[in-house]
C-alpha cells in the first residue's frame, strides 16, 4: 500500500496537530473522502465531527475521553470519535498522546449492529486504518518518523511505498 500522511492546517492548533492520510496518488485525504461520502445523508453529523476536530486542535487536545478506544489491535492507538446518541457516523482515528491525531475514514454504523464486523464498509475502513497505524508505528520504532519538540508535528519520512512492506 502506498500512502502519505498530511497535516490538516484547517484543524491543527496549539493543542493538537491533526493529520489525515492520502492513499496512492489520490487527490484527496481520507477525511475529505469521509465528508464527501456522508455530507448528503448525514450533513449535520458530519459538520459536528468537523467542529469537534477543530476543538481538539485548538481548545482541548485529543483527550482519550473523546474517543472510543480499542477499535484496533492492542496498543496500536486506533480509536473512533464518539458518535452522539442520535447519530450514526463512525470516524476512525489513530491517537499519539493528546497532541497528535491521524484521522482516517469511516462510515455509517446503524444502531442495530453492535460490532463493526457486521458492516462491510466499516470493516474495510477499520482494516485500512489498522494497516496505516502499523506502518507508522514501525517507522517510529525505526526512528524514521519522530515527533517535533512541541509534539504537535511528525517529522521525517511521511511517505510510504509498497516496497516498505
Amino acid at each position: 500500500m502506498k500512502f502519505k500522511i498530511e497535516k490538516l492546517n484547517q484543524f491543527s492548533g496549539n493543542k493538537a496537530g491533526v493529520y489525515s492520510v492520502v492513499l496512492n496518488n489520490d487527490e484527496e485525504t481520507l477525511l475529505n473522502k469521509f465528508v464527501r461520502e456522508n455530507e448528503i445523508s448525514f450533513k449535520s453529523e458530519t459538520k459536528d465531527i468537523l467542529k469537534r476536530l477543530y476543538s481538539i486542535g485548538h481548545s482541548t487536545g485529543a483527550r482519550s475521553q473523546f474517543f472510543k478506544e480499542w477499535e484496533g489491535n492492542p496498543g496500536d492507538g486506533v480509536c473512533a470519535l464518539y458518535d452522539k446518541p442520535d447519530c450514526n457516523l463512525r470516524l476512525y482515528c489513530v491517537c499519539y498522546g493528546t497532541q497528535l491525531i491521524i484521522v482516517g475514514s469511516g462510515g455509517y454504523k446503524p444502531k442495530t449492529i453492535r460490532a463493526l464486523q457486521e458492516d462491510a464498509k466499516l470493516t474495510e475502513e477499520n482494516t485500512l486504518i489498522k494497516e496505516i497505524s502499523q506502518q507508522i508505528t514501525q517507522r517510529i520504532k525505526d526512528k524514521d518518523i519522530r515527533f517535533s519538540n512541541d509534539y504537535l508535528d511528525f517529522t521525517g519520512d511521511l511517505s510510504f511505498n509498497d516496497e516498505d512492506l
Binding site: 498530511e6 484547517q10 492520502v22 487527490e27 484527496e28 485525504t29 477525511l31 475529505n32 465528508v35 464527501r36 455530507e39 450533513k43 458530519t46 459538520k47 459536528d48 468537523l50 467542529k51 469537534r52 477543530y54 476543538s55 481538539i56 485548538h58 481548545s59 482541548t60 483527550r63 475521553q65 473523546f66 464518539y82 458518535d83 452522539k84 446518541p85
Partner: protein, 137 residues
C-alpha cells in the same frame, strides 16, 4: 508541501459559523473540566454515576465525550458533587457598583530642627504637613 484541495471538506468547514464552533468548544471544555475533576478526586465513571444518582454508566461516558448538551440542572449537580465551578454566575458586566469614598486628612506636626528626607521647612518654626488619603471601597 503539497496542498490537497479537499473541496468537500473545506466547503463544509466554511459553513460552520463562529457561534456554532463556540458551542462545540464549550461542550468539549466542560467535558474536560469534569474529567479533570474526577481525576483530582480519584473517581472513575461508576463513582460519579453513583454520586449523581444515575443508573447507566453510558450516560457518564456521553458526558465525557464532549457531545453532551448539558442542562443547567445537571451542571449544578455536577458542581456540587465534584466541588468545581462549571457555571460562571459572577456579577453582570454592566451592574452598577456602589463606591464609598472616604477622605482622610492627617495632620502631622514637626519643628524645624527635625530632619526630614526630601523636605525643607524655613518659617514658621513649626509647620504642619498634610497627608491626604482617599480610600475607595
Amino acid at each position: 508541501m503539497e496542498t490537497y484541495k479537499d473541496e468537500a471538506l473545506n466547503s463544509l468547514l466554511s459553513e460552520i459559523t463562529p457561534s456554532e464552533q463556540a458551542k462545540t468548544d464549550a461542550k468539549m471544555l466542560l467535558a474536560v473540566k469534569i474529567a479533570d475533576a474526577m481525576q483530582a478526586k480519584g473517581w472513575n465513571k461508576t463513582r460519579l454515576m453513583k454520586k449523581m444518582r444515575k443508573s447507566n454508566p453510558s450516560e457518564i461516558t456521553r458526558w465525557l465525550s464532549g457531545t453532551q448538551n448539558f442542562t443547567v440542572e445537571t451542571l449544578v449537580d455536577l458542581e456540587r458533587v465534584l466541588e468545581i465551578k462549571l457555571l460562571d454566575l459572577g456579577e453582570p458586566k454592566n451592574a452598577e457598583r456602589t463606591i464609598k469614598q472616604y477622605n482622610i486628612d492627617i495632620l502631622v506636626p514637626f519643628n524645624r530642627s527635625q530632619q526630614m528626607t526630601g523636605c525643607f521647612v524655613s518659617e514658621p518654626s513649626e509647620a504642619y504637613t498634610y497627608y491626604k488619603q482617599t480610600i475607595y471601597s
